[in-house]
């Protein structure tokens, strides 16, 4: 049935079963190569420890460098004050994007 061409295949008037309602469930997580932030060693899906202490879990997002490595945005912000290189690959740190 996978190659059924018609989009409205589910609505043929003669067919026995028609899907009327679909309650689907999906899970989201950050699109990262490594689940753990190498700076604070907390899972990136969880807020970093500092944000947890401040109860700012919702604001703790992930940042990706051009090297494709990712960390908590706040962890990286503190890190670059000391050293403007990626802690994992030592390349100069250039932000590719942040999550939202």
């Amino acid at each position: 049935m996978a190659d059924d061409a018609s989009d409205n295949a589910h609505e043929k008037p003669t067919q026995l079963f028609t899907l009327k309602k679909w309650n689907a469930v999906a899970v989201w997580n950050w699109d990262v190569e490594c689940d753990t932030c190498a700076i604070c060693r907390v899972q990136v899906m969880d807020a970093c420890l500092r944000c947890q202490a401040d109860n700012k879990q919702d604001e703790c997002v992930v940042v990706w460098g051009e090297c494709n490595h990712s960390f908590h945005n706040c962890c990286m912000a503190l890190w670059v004050e000391q050293n403007n290189r990626c802690p994992l690959c030592q390349k100069a740190w250039v932000i590719q994007g942040t999550g939202k």
Binding site: M1, D7, W22, N23, A24, W28, L49
Partner: protein, 614 residues
Amino acid sequence: MIRCIFLVLDRTYVLQNSMLPSLWDLGLDLFRENVLSREHVRERCFFGLLNLIKRERSGDTIDRCLLRNLLSMLNDLHIYHTMFEKRFLHETEESYSIEGSAKRSSMEVHEYLIHTERRISEERDLCLACMDHSTLKPLTLCVEEQLISKHTEALLSKGLSHLIVENRIDDLMRLYKLFSAVKDGIQSLCTHFNKHVKNVASLIVLDVSNDHTMVQDLLDLKEKLSNIVTKCFSKDLKFVEALREAFESSINKRQNKPAELIAKYVDQRMKSGNKEATEVELDRTLDQIMMLFRFIHGKDVFEAFYKKDLAKRLLVGKSASVDAEKSMLSKLKQECGGMFTGKLEGMFNDISHSKELMAQYRQHVTTKKEGKVPNIDMSVNILTMGYWPTYPPMEVQLPSYLVKLQDSFKDFYLSKHSGRKLSFRASLGHCVLKSKFKNGNKELQVSQFQALVLLLYNEATCFSFLQIKSDTQIEDSELRRTLQSLACGKARILTKSPKGKDVNDGDNFNLNTEFKHKLIRIKINQIQLKESVEENTDTTERVFQDRQYQIDAAIVRTMKTRKTLSHQLLLTELYDQLKFPLKATDIKKRIESLIERDYMERDKDNTTQYHYMA
């Protein structure tokens, strides 16, 4: 008479000469010296008096008037206190010492208590009627000593458990009252009470064969005992604490299981269909549950199991009452703090965010006018990974129009949220299928797996197990359970050949074209997988792994507010904050790890002092 004659003289002359004794006193002195100083006379007199009292005690009616006059005479003669009272108390002590031992072994404890109470009141009665009132105190003390103090241990070990088990409110009240009169009586009672509760509660907790009633049994026990403390032990704080301590120690004699069962108990109350309870009753039940929850040392174990059930209730929309869910959450928050409930709250937020997002998505679809999106009412719950229990992804083969629908939503979602990955969990979805049977149209409420199987039957009326498996790609054991539910349950939409409960590789499944059902809307129940021991150990295991991380978070939170703290004070704070048993060595390891990660540092001069590093 002599006194009367000389009364005038007494009043007028003697009173003015204070050196002289009054004639009345003179007379008494003479009587005392000449009559009662003679030992045998005095002895006979005392013997007679004590005998009279003995008879009264044994139940005879005596001439109380005579007794009172004689005793008052002794008082006037100044030998009541110096000689008689001592003898009397000694006699009393001996007689009650014998009686106490005899009655204690011949009577049931509650009879003995009644007897004792009666004795004390009889003695009081006699004393107030016939004796100098100053005797009341030593007399009562003496009786209490002989009848209660000497037997506290024996009475308590022989009778307390029985009285509590039988819920003998009056007898227990009497016990408390009598024991509170003697030194250390209440303390012994309290110790025995605590021991009894521990015995009974531990039995409930440790009896593996009665796990299904453990929580209800504990709740009933607690209610009964609290009632006894209130009614019989006058809400004495010592007893309140003894009860609390006994429950806490008993419930923690078994690891994890009580926490798990308490969570299950809440789930049963919270599920819809539990119509027996009104909102008010439900809230009361939740309060009682919280009382048990408070005793649990591994509160995070409870949280893990609670979360699993909560997830099911939220995703299947099976919750009896949103208010009750929120109320339970706030009770947990109040008890354990926001740290503890953060992820649970996150689950509720996910559900409400999903609703908002779906509204936006529908708007988006209608304005987009792509046209080709199938006319299916789709809603998606988007779960934040980490808030919810982990659900392993299971790839399945969807009909192409569903893939399209799914992708359309996914594109929309990712356009709103960058940097995210979204993956569907077919095992959690559920559907409504319209169906046209020969015997009438039906609306089937099914799981997504059940729906995927049934949709195959639009193409043919018979499939083999292996065909279904390759067409849907549903995981093997899931598929077998799904087919069982469709072909072996109450509403059989498929027929299985050969017949039988177990699904085997060679089985064929035919569409039951003759399907009949008295209802229009039919819910096809899924075969509930009994939560395996393995699954439960898994949950507890994850809890233990999570503890390290909880410790880290608590240390950082504490150091961040306190900036500088000694090791000891930090430990104290942590014990206070964390809701599971902690070992000092584990905490030390976590502190080392945090120092290494530059969250904190040791003081340069004082190694037991830490500073927070911003």
